[in-house]
Point group: C2
Chain length 264, copies 2
């Protein structure tokens, strides 16, 4: 997280991306605005991918799904263009990274469908705003993420294991964090597991599959939340002819305020 954000609003940040002035990570920018993962897939698999997200709402909380061919997220950022308004993208072909780019106009066709999926940046901000100590923010590193032995509910060609993020918490913070996050089902909701990592197939907390390791201190309990890396890993494993995502850490920033995602 940067100490002082350069951009106060989502629109300012997106405009800087669009005009080529910002290609850096979005953590800490446009504080209070909801940031999302971007996953773009061909139209002929969009139903199956939407079904996968519907069946696995904790790892795949849908913030918006655009109409086929439409690069404008009309509900959450009507003035935005998903082809230019993220700082950095990844182009995958048949499950292999082809290249990283700063706009995807040349790749966009009427055949593509864009999915915006809840992201842990917003999630961490909610916890921190309630005085809950978030270790990887204290350490200035990425949240540790782990592939588990828990299978997602498959849908058509999409299947694979649940990916979780881990935050070590004191018992008091754990109890508050459950309450806070349960109220935000669109940001992964309540934890999926607390305590013994081996119960969900994680053998070594010091070796995350994505992100950075963080220390678990005496008296702390590891708390595991479903992670938005899950749908991206599952889509990658299905080796689609074309898939476009944000580059890690370079998220799409919507006009939604965090409070608008409160359940109810």
């Amino acid at each position: 997280m940067t100490a002082r954000p350069l951009f106060q609003t989502a629109a300012q940040l997106r405009e800087a991306c669009r005009t080529g002035r910002w290609h850096q990570p979005t953590a800490g920018q446009a504080p209070g605005f909801v940031q999302t993962n971007l996953v773009v897939v061909p139209r002929d698999v969009a139903f199956e991918f939407l079904l996968f997200c519907q069946r696995n709402p904790k790892p795949c909380p849908l913030i918006e799904v655009c109409e086929p061919g439409d690069p404008v997220p009309r509900r959450t950022a009507p003035g935005a263009d998903l082809r230019t308004d993220l700082p950095r993208y990844r182009i995958y072909r048949c499950g292999e990274l082809e290249r990283e780019v700063t706009e995807i106009t040349e790749y966009w066709t009427d055949d593509l469908v864009a999915f915006l999926i809840g992201c842990s940046f917003t999630f961490d901000h909610l916890l921190a705003a309630r005085g809950i100590a978030v270790r990887h923010l204290e350490c200035g590193c990425n949240v540790p993420m782990f592939r588990t032995s828990v299978p997602c509910e498959p849908a058509g060609r999409f299947s694979g294991p649940l990916v979780v993020s881990m935050r070590p918490l004191s018992p008091g913070d754990l109890i508050r964090a459950v309450q806070v996050t349960a109220a935000y089902p669109q940001l992964h909701g309540a934890p999926v597991h607390v305590g013994d990592p081996t119960a969900i197939g994680i053998t070594d907390l010091s070796r995350p599959d994505w992100g950075d390791p963080v220390p678990v201190r005496t008296g702390e309990i590891p708390v595991f939340w479903a992670c938005g890396v899950t749908p991206q890993a599952v889509a990658l494993a299905s080796k689609l002819p074309l898939m476009i995502t944000h580059a890690p850490g370079h998220m799409f920033v919507t006009d939604l305020r965090e409070a608008e995602l409160l359940a109810g």
Copy 2:
């Protein structure tokens, strides 16, 4: 609601439907099990209909969406068959009711996709179980439902107004009902409106568009929840070549327990 349920479990009720021994409404049967609306649409509109539900989660809380062509709800009632296990169905062609039937085996093809959508029977049971007086249950009639002036978020060919159900509540019951229902986003969640019906385009509470009128007593406030009739009305208005639904009040009963729908 019948005074004493004939069927204690969802499986018993479904078996009686399948063997032709039960073609009556499901209200009050298999207490504690989640009942759902059934909407079956052709595969080529399934993505758009799923998108409509995703964009309008309050009126269209998805309990399960089956794989294309699959009549078995493998996540919520793996032993069931949606072609035979409801007491009564409606067949619509181009938006017109063609007939009411007690099984749909002859209509089923690999081209159909079944949607199970949260239902107010379960919802009313949750309120009543917490001591909240539910007027239409007291009156032994159907909940009053109204077309509003609030548009749903459209998706492809699917668009139309939000339909709401109304329950008159005392201020104390209203406050508790907001809390109870907010915890169950898969059962329409918190109310969408309280008080003045004209604010959402309802001119006469004594003339509901569906169901029966109920009295609003002195000191009571009308409370409006998004209603599962919405997606059915929207699908009907789109005049699909074929659409199959449950007959009103003759719901599909899943193996899910109500408590399993608690948010988090």
